[in-house]
Symmetry: C2
Subunit: 765 residues, 2 copies
C-alpha cells in the first residue's frame, strides 16, 4: 500500500483503446473497460474490474479470465497478466472477493488440451498468450487475438446470453473448449468452493447444454446453460477429470470439460451463443429465444452499446478527454450491477434457495451494500429511479424469505460480508426521496425488522442492552457500533415520515449510541468491554482487518469520522469546530505506520485512504466546521491524483460502483456525506459542465468557470442565478431542475461557505 | 464377521412388542419394527432398520435416533444403545451408508440444553436414557418413555407429515427442542456432509417453519418444514452454534437449534405435527393441509396402520408366529421404500437439481438397485404392479435429466454407490411381464442409452473394446464385468420383444463377455489386465471392499456364480453338472480365512455369505445341475438359521427390502435366480400356506404338507393339481392364479426335480 502511494500513478500501463468510428455525441466512446482491470504492481490493489461485455444491470458478464483459479483480482482479469485462460460468462466488478466465472469457453487449435493452463506459465494448458496491442474493449464488445492459436476472439452479450465470434485460421484441428470446472480456487479451499454437481450434454452437432451447482462465496449457485454453434462440430470429446470420452453425448461429474471439434478454413468464423439461467436449461433456451434468436454479432454488439449509450446519456458532461473517460467508465462500472438474476419469465433462486417468480421479471442481486450505500445508491435514486425501486423490491424479497434485509447479497444469497445493515439507508433514502414503485409501509416493516432481529454481525439485543457493542462479545465492535447507530438514524427518519413516533424515539436514541464509545481522553472511538472498561492498549494507527478487532478494514483514525447522521454532534464531541478542523488536518497529514496497514486500505493522503470506503466522506467534513476550502483542496487532490484513465485507474477495489460514484458526484462538485438525508456537501467541481437528465425533460446543470487542475478552490457559487453561500445543496434543488454555477480559482476564497453545514436538519426532519 | 457366525443367533436381545388389541385376521400385528434394528454385538452388521413410524412408500420416516451423528447403523437407531437423542423425520431402512435424519425434535424438561448428547454418555445434552421395556413399535406407531424427563413420546405419520404426541410431567420448564444440525457425522467429514444453509422461523406461538440445505451421501438435499404445536409455547430460544437468542423470530445459519418452551400439567399432552417438503415451506404447509389438517393422533395412527394392513394383505400366510413376524416385517421393510419424494401437488427435486412436477403426483427415489433388483423388484411386479410403473417412470426421469438410469438413487440424486446398471433388469423385467403404466419404447431407449453411454463405473467403450473390463483401467473389474454382462442380457431381451434384432444381437454378444474373465486353470473369474494377462497373484478367498479390487464386497468364490442369464453356460464352463455341483459343495463348506473378510460379508455358510447380495441366488443353483435337494437343504438352513424375529433378525444390512424379499420368496418355496426372466427356481417352502393376491380376485396359492424345520426336503409337487417335476415355476404360472402344492419330508427325495433347469429358455425367449 505504501508502495502504491509512493509510486503514485506515474507508472501507467499503456491502454489500447480502439473504437469503431465513434459518432459525434456518442458517449460510449469514452468508456474504457480496461480502467480498473489492473494494479500498478503485484502488491497494489486492483480496481478489480473486468474488460468483457455486459449490458447495464445484465445477468451475463462475458469476459476473459487471465487466471486459472481466479482469486485476486476478483474479476478474474489482471491487466498485468500475459495469458488468457478463456472466456467465462459471469463476473463480479470491483469486489474484494472472487466468485462466479461460469461456463468458460476457449477456442484453440492443434491437439486437444483440456488443462486450463496457468497465468504463470504462458502456453500451458489450453490458455494462450495475448497482447494488449491486439486487444479491444468497449461497452458491449471485447476482442483479443489469441496468439498461440492465431484465433481472433470477439465477445458481445445481451442480458442473459453471451455471443462469441471466433475467427479461426485454417486447421483440421480447431476446437472450442468448454470448462465447467473453472471457478475460484478450489485447491486452496477458497471460500470452501466446491462443485456439487455438473453436467455437459451434447444435444446435436451444433448444440450443447449443461449446468453446474456449486458452493463458493455464494453458498449455493446453480448455473444452467444452453449453447448453440453457428457451424456444426465434426466431433466432440467430453472429459471428467483426466478421463476423456470421445463422442459421448452426456457426462455428469464435478470436474467436467468438453472439446467441440471443427475443421476450419482460413479466417472462418464460428459463432457460439450461450444462454444462462439460474433455474434450468429449459429457461436458458427460453432466454436465448427471447433475446438472441439470430446470429448477428455486430447488431447484438450495437444493441448492447446502445443500451449503454442510453444509460450514459443520463449525465452529459464537458471536461477533458481523461475526465470524460474516467467519468463515463465510472457510470459504466456503476451500472454493471446490481444484476438482474431473473430469467426473462421472472424465475429466480430466492435467498431460501427455493425457485420463485418475480412478476416484474426482475430480481436484482450483487448488493455490495457496505460500499454502495454511500454514493452509488444515491446516484441511482437520481438517474435510475425505476431500477432503484427494483433493487428495493428485490432486497425486500430477502426480508420475506430470510427475515432481514441484505448485508452483502451475492447471486440472491446472503454472505454477511462486511458489517452494518446498509440496505436500510438505501431503502430509507429512496422512501424519503419518494421513489415510486415500492410499498413504503412494507419497506418500513423490513427496515425495522432488520434492526431488531438479531442476526450474524447484528446483535441488536446486545446493542440495546449495552448501548454499544462490547468487543468481548462481538468483534469489529467500534465499526459496528458506529455503523449501526447510523442505520438506526435512518430507521428513525422513515418512522417519522410514516408517523411512527414511538419507533422514531427508539431509533433516534439508538442512533446516538456512538457516543458511548468515545473516549474523551484519547479523542477517539475505542473498543469497550462488556464490563464498561476500555480495551487496552489503544493505538489510533493500529489496523483491524476484515473481521478484525476492533475496526473493520481500518483504524481509529479512519473510523473517527463515521457519524454522518450527526456531524455537528461529532464536532461537539471533540470540542467544537476548531478542534474538529485540527483533527481533520492531522488526519490528512499523519503518515501511516509502515507494514501494518490493512490490505484493503490504499490511496493514502495521511491517514485518509481513498482506496477503501470508510474514508469516502471525510474530505467533505471541513464543510461542516467552517473550512470548506480544505474540503475543496482534498477533494480536488483525490479527483486529480487518485483516479486516472489507465488500467490502474482506481486507488483500490472499485467496489461495485462505489469508487466510481464518488468520482461522478465529486467531479460535479457535490457528494452525499449522509447518504440518506437528501443533502449533498459541496466539494470541488473539476468538470466544465454537467447536465443531469432527471427524466421528463428536467435537467439539473452544473456549470463551472475556470475549471482546471490548478483551480481547486471555489470563488463563488450561484444556484438558479442567485448567489449561494451554503456548502451543500439538497435533493430538491437537484430534482426540481435548475442550475448550479461555480467560479473556481487557484486560491481559497475563505469567505465563501464559512457557515458550518448543519446537515441532519437540512432535509427538513 | 466370524464372531457373528460362531455366535450364530443365540444371544438374542429381548424384544418388547406391544400391540393394541390386534383384531383377528389383522396382519400388522405380526410386524415387529424392531427386527433388524440391532446387531448381535458391536462387531456385527445390523439390519440397519429403524423402528419408527412410516406409511408404505412414504416421504416421512419418523423415528428415534440413538446416535448424535449417525453412521453405523445407517438407520440412526441401534437396539443396543441406551440413549435416545431425539426423533428425526427421515431415515433410510437397511442401507450400509447413512444419510437424511432431517428436522430432529426432542421433548425435554428442566434447564434448556441444546447440545445433542451422546450415545456413549447417557444423560448428556438433551438426550435421554430409555429402556426397551418402555418402548413400543408397530406400523404407524412408535412409543418410548424418555426416562430422564419422564416424558412419554409417541410418534405416528402420514406420507409427508410426522405427528408427535408428548405426554409431559408437571413442569414449568417443559421444552421441545428442534435440532436442524442433526445429520450424519460432519466432524469426520463423513461423505463430506455439510449444511450449506438452514433456517428456523417462529411464525407465531404455535408455529415454526424452517429448512436446511445440505450435502451428504446425497449430493444436495433441501428439506423445508412447517411445524404446528397443539399448545402455544410461552417462549422460545433460537440458537446458532453456541449462541442463544431468546424470543428471536428467525435465525439463519448452518448449526441451528430451537427450544420451544411450555408450562405443563402432569400428564399434559402436547402434539406437534411436522410437514416436510423438498421444495418449499409453502409446500410443507400444503402437505399438512392435504394429509393431516386435524389433531387426531390415534386416528392418524390407525389410518397409517390400515395402509400397512392393505399392503400386507397382498400375501396371506399360515405358519408359525415367528415365521409370520419375519415374513410380514419383511413385507413392511420391502414396502418402506422406494419413497415418494414428490409433494402432494407433484413438485419434486429432479436429478439435475431443478424443481420439476410429476403429473401423477409421485416421484419415487431411494433405489438401492444393486440390492433390490434381485428379489425386491420382482416381488413388486407381483404385488405392487402400479407402484412398479411409478418406480420405472421415476427412474426414467433420471434418464431424461441425467442421461442414464439410476445406479443408486438417493433423494432423487445419483450417488453411484455399488456397480452395474441394475435399473435395467428392473425395467426389462417389468416390461417383459407387461406391467402397465409406462412406455416400453421409451423404456427401451433409456435401457439402451444407459448401456452405451459411458458413465462413472460403466465404461462401455472399454467394455466393447476389450470385451471385459481390464482391472488396470477400472477397479472392481471382475464384478463389473459379470454384472454388466447380465444387464446386457436384459437389454437384449427387451430389444427382442420390441423387434430390435440388431440390438438384440449386439447385447446378447456382450452378455457372454463374462467368459473372457474365466480362467480355466483356476476355475474362477479373475481380473485381467488390458494387455490380456491375468492379474497375479490370485487368491480365491481374498476379498475386495466396496470399490475394492477386483471383486466388489466379495471374493472370487462369491462372484463365481454370477451368470444368472446363462447358468447352463456357466455349468459348461466348469465342465458340466457334476463339476458344478462339486464346486457348489466346496463353496458351502470352505471356511473363510479369519481376519480378511470384507465388512459387508456376513451370515456365512462356508463361503456363502447371506449377509450380502452376491450370494443370494447361489443356493438355488443346485437346481440347475440336477441336485435340487441341496438347494432345499441350504435354502431351508438360511431361512431357519439366518433370519429370526429379534432386533438382530437379519444376517447383514437389510438393504431396502432385498434381504426381506429373499425371505418372502424363499419361505413360499421359490426365488427369481435371474430377476428378469420370469422364472422362479424352487427351493424349500417353510410356510404351511401362502396366498398371493394378484388383484382382480386372482390368487396364487402355495400349500405345504409337513412344513417344518425338520422337513426341508421336497418329496413331491403338484401344480394346479397335476404332478410337477420341474425345479422352477414361471411368472405365468403365478399370475394366472392357481395352486402349487408341496409335500415335504425330513430326507431328500433325490428322484424329484433332477432334470437340470434350463432357465434362460423358460420365459420363451
Amino acid at each position: 500500500m505504501k508502495k502504491l502511494l509512493s509510486i503514485g500513478f506515474v507508472c501507467l500501463c499503456p491502454i489500447v483503446f480502439a473504437q469503431k468510428k465513434p459518432s459525434p455525441g456518442n458517449l460510449v466512446q469514452y468508456v474504457n473497460p480496461f480502467i480498473g482491470t489492473g494494479a500498478v504492481d503485484k502488491n497494489s490493489l486492483s480496481g478489480s474490474n473486468f474488460p468483457g461485455s455486459t449490458v447495464p444491470f445484465g445477468f451475463v458478464q462475458l469476459s476473459p479470465d487471465t487466471r486459472e483459479a481466479p482469486d485476486d483480482p476478483a474479476s478474474g482479469y489482471d491487466y498485468n497478466d500475459k495469458t488468457i485462460i478463456g472466456f467465462s460468462h459471469t463476473h463480479l466488478s470491483g469486489t474484494g472477493v472472487a466468485d462466479l466465472f461460469d461456463v468458460l469457453m476457449m477456442p484453440t487449435t492443434g491437439a486437444i488440451n483440456l488443462a486450463p493452463g496457468s497465468a504463470d506459465k504462458p502456453g500451458s494448458g489450453y490458455s494462450s498468450a495475448f497482447s494488449h496491442k491486439e486487444e479491444t474493449a468497449r461497452p458491449g464488445y471485447y476482442q483479443v487475438m489469441l496468439k498461440d492459436y492465431n484465433i481472433n476472439a470477439e465477445l458481445t452479450s445481451t442480458s442473459h446470453v453471451g455471443l462469441h465470434r471466433y475467427t479461426f485460421p485454417k486447421s483440421d484441428e480447431s476446437h472450442v473448449i468448454i470448462d465447467m470446472d473453472h471457478s475460484l480456487d478450489k485447491k486452496r479451499g477458497y471460500w470452501s468452493c466446491k462443485i456439487v454437481s455438473a453436467q455437459i450434454r451434447v444435444i446435436d452437432d451444433h448444440t450443447v447444454e449443461g449446468y453446474r451447482v456449486l458452493s463458493g462465496w455464494a453458498k449455493l449457485r446453480k448455473i444452467y446453460f444452453h449453447a448453440e454453434f453457428s457451424k456444426p462440430f465434426t466431433s466432440s470429446v467430453l472429459a471428467s477429470g483426466s478421463r476423456r470420452y470421445p463422442d459421448l453425448s452426456i457426462i455428469n461429474g464435478t470436474n467436467l470439460k468438453a472439446a467441440l471439434n471443427f475443421s476450419t478454413k482460413d479466417k472462418e468464423q464460428v459463432l457460439v451463443k450461450v444462454g444462462l439461467s439460474p433455474v434450468s436449461t429449459e429457461n436458458a433456451r427460453m432466454n436465448i429465444k427471447a433475446e438472441l434468436p439470430g446470429w448477428d454479432f455486430d447488431n447484438t454488439s450495437t444493441q448492447s452499446s446502445l443500451q449503454w449509450e442510453h444509460e450514459l446519456a443520463k449525465i452529459k458532461i464537458e471536461g477533458t478527454l481523461e475526465q470524460k473517460q474516467i467519468f463515463y467508465t465510472g457510470m459504466y462500472h456503476a451500472f454493471t450491477q446490481p444484476n438482474n438474476l431473473a430469467d426473462v419469465n421472472g424465475d429466480y433462486q430466492a435467498t431460501d434457495l427455493t425457485i420463485a417468480n418475480a412478476p416484474d421479471k426482475t430480481h436484482y442481486s450483487t448488493f455490495s451494500l457496505w460500499d454502495t450505500y454511500r454514493a452509488a445508491h444515491p446516484l441511482y435514486t437520481l438517474i435510475q429511479p425505476e431500477k432503484t425501486a427494483g433493487f428495493i423490491n428485490s432486497m425486500m424479497r430477502q426480508y420475506d424469505t430470510y427475515g432481514y434485509l441484505p448485508i452483502w447479497q451475492l447471486w440472491g444469497d446472503e454472505n454477511y460480508c462486511m458489517i452494518g445493515n446498509h440496505a436500510i439507508p438505501v431503502i430509507v433514502d429512496a422512501a424519503l426521496k419518494d421513489i415510486k414503485g415500492f410499498n413504503q409501509e412494507k419497506a418500513y416493516e423490513a427496515v425495522k425488522g432488520s434492526s431488531i432481529t438479531d442476526h450474524p454481525g447484528s446483535p441488536f439485543t446486545t446493542w440495546e442492552k449495552y448501548q454499544y457493542i462490547p468487543e468481548d462479545i462481538e468483534s469489529q465492535s467500534v465499526s459496528v457500533t458506529l455503523e449501526m447507530a447510523y442505520d438506526d438514524w435512518c430507521v428513525a427518519q422513515l418512522a417519522k415520515k410514516l408517523d411512527k413516533t414511538e419507533d422514531y424515539d427508539r431509533f433516534m436514541k439508538r442512533s446516538e449510541y456512538y457516543r458511548n464509545l468515545y473516549n474523551t481522553k484519547t479523542g477517539f472511538f475505542q473498543a469497550k468491554k462488556k464490563d464498561g472498561n476500555w480495551q487496552e492498549p489503544f493505538d489510533a494507527l493500529a489496523y483491524g482487518g476484515n473481521g478484525g478487532s476492533p475496526y473493520t478494514e481500518g483504524n481509529a483514525w479512519q473510523y473517527f469520522w463515521y457519524v454522518p447522521q450527526n456531524v455537528s454532534g461529532l464536532i461537539d464531541l471533540v470540542g467544537g469546530n476548531t478542534a474538529f478542523n485540527q483533527k481533520l488536518d492531522l488526519f490528512f497529514s499523519t503518515k501511516d505506520k509502515p507494514g501494518e496497514v490493512n490490505g484493503n486500505a490504499s490511496g493514502f493522503i495521511g491517514q485518509y485512504a481513498h482506496g477503501n470506503e470508510p474514508s469516502h466522506h471525510v474530505a467533505y467534513l471541513y464543510d461542516y466546521a467552517g473550512q470548506p476550502w480544505k474540503t475543496q483542496m482534498y477533494v480536488a487532490k483525490v479527483l486529480n491524483e487518485l483516479y486516472n484513465n489507465s488500467s490502474s485507474g482506481y486507488s483500490g477495489n472499485e467496489d461495485c460502483g462505489q469508487m466510481s460514484s464518488w468520482y461522478i458526484f465529486s467531479a460535479m462538485g457535490f457528494y452525499p456525506v449522509n447518504p440518506a438525508n437528501g443533502v449533498y456537501a459541496i466539494g470541488s467541481p473539476i468538470l466544465k459542465n454537467a447536465q443531469i437528465n432527471l427524466g421528463d425533460g428536467t435537467v439539473f446543470t452544473v456549470d463551472v468557470k475556470n475549471a482546471g487542475k490548478q483551480n481547486a478552490y471555489i470563488q463563488s457559487v450561484k444556484l438558479n442565478g442567485k448567489s449561494y453561500t451554503k456548502t451543500y445543496i439538497t435533493q430538491n434543488d437537484i430534482t426540481g431542475g435548475g442550475k448550479l454555477e461555480f467560479v473556481m480559482g487557484s486560491k481559497p476564497n475563505k469567505n465563501w461557505g464559512v457557515k458550518p453545514t448543519d446537515a441532519p436538519l437540512a432535509w427538513g426532519y
